[in-house]
């Protein structure tokens, strides 16, 4: 299964690099669309189904946490997992993200490996090692 992803970041270069990194990571990606603000993201989420949202935390007007709050208040959007991509690294801030309902966080700078590992876990996809193990099991199952 390929997943449709919405990237929310006020920085065009950052949106571009996140998009390229996800594709390079090998994570099963379907459509990847971009929103430059929380408000634009909410509009897109109401019009089209996304399996996953990746949002920046530090954005003008509506930050990543406020976007999660707004999504949690709408039944149709409340179950979509949201991953916060952030420069924040304090334990207190990370705990706050998770308490607010973030599915996970990714600290910048990030690598394709970290992105893939986190997104696979959230979406219940097998890790590469598990996929190989499954294949071996199937081969021996007679």
């Amino acid at each position: 299964m390929a997943f449709n992803i919405l990237i929310v970041d006020d920085s065009l270069p950052m949106r571009a690099v996140i998009k390229r990194t996800i594709r390079a990571s090998g994570f099963k990606v379907g459509e990847v669309l971009e929103a430059s603000s929380g408000a634009e993201a909410l509009k897109m989420l109401r019009e089209q189904w996304f399996d996953l949202v990746l949002t920046d935390y530090n954005m003008p007007e509506m930050n990543g946490m406020e976007l999660i709050d707004a999504m949690k208040n709408e039944e149709l959007l409340s179950t979509i997992p949201v991953v916060v991509i952030t420069t924040e690294g304090s334990q207190q801030k990370i705990a706050e993200f998770m308490e607010k309902g973030a599915a996970d966080f990714i600290q910048k700078p990030f690598t394709p490996e970290v992105i893939k590992q986190k997104l696979n876990r959230i979406m219940g996809e097998p890790e590469d090692g598990e996929a190989v193990a499954d294949g071996i099991d199937e081969g021996l199952d007679f």
């Binding site: 270069p13 690099v17 530090n58 420069t87 924040e88 304090s90 600290q107």
Partner: protein, 158 residues
Amino acid sequence: MEKRSLMASMKASISEVMETMFFLPLEFEDVGDINEIIRSAEGGTLACKLAFSGPFSGLSCFLIPVKVAQGLTANFLGEDTDRVNEKHMAGTVKEILNMITGKAFSLYDNQAVFKLAIPEIMPSEKWAYLVTKDVKEAVKLYINTADGDLGLMLVILS
């Protein structure tokens, strides 16, 4: 605020950001004058500042020659250098400073909460005036890369 520890965190942070996101190895020069980057960069420089507050407050500032910013932006966007415009460069430079500052603080003290503002581009000429008599401390880094030299400064105001 422990200056030596903060400087070590800044060095580790900028190395990680530039090597992980831009594949740009770098070295630190202990005696470099950051203002010299402004004077000598062909094509000018871009400067960016980011206000922060927390256990201590101030400004994080980044200086980069335009030609280096253009190359890094093209790399970041996955575009040819000639398709990179000023807005793209400004966005990339702001993001670099945001990543370096956030990472440096989390390396310095991951129990502390620092609030980062939105990064802003500023005129390079103002760089020399950032360290005024009100400044409590300034941590400066002169950075050598194969593409050109960069400057990073943390100005502690309170």
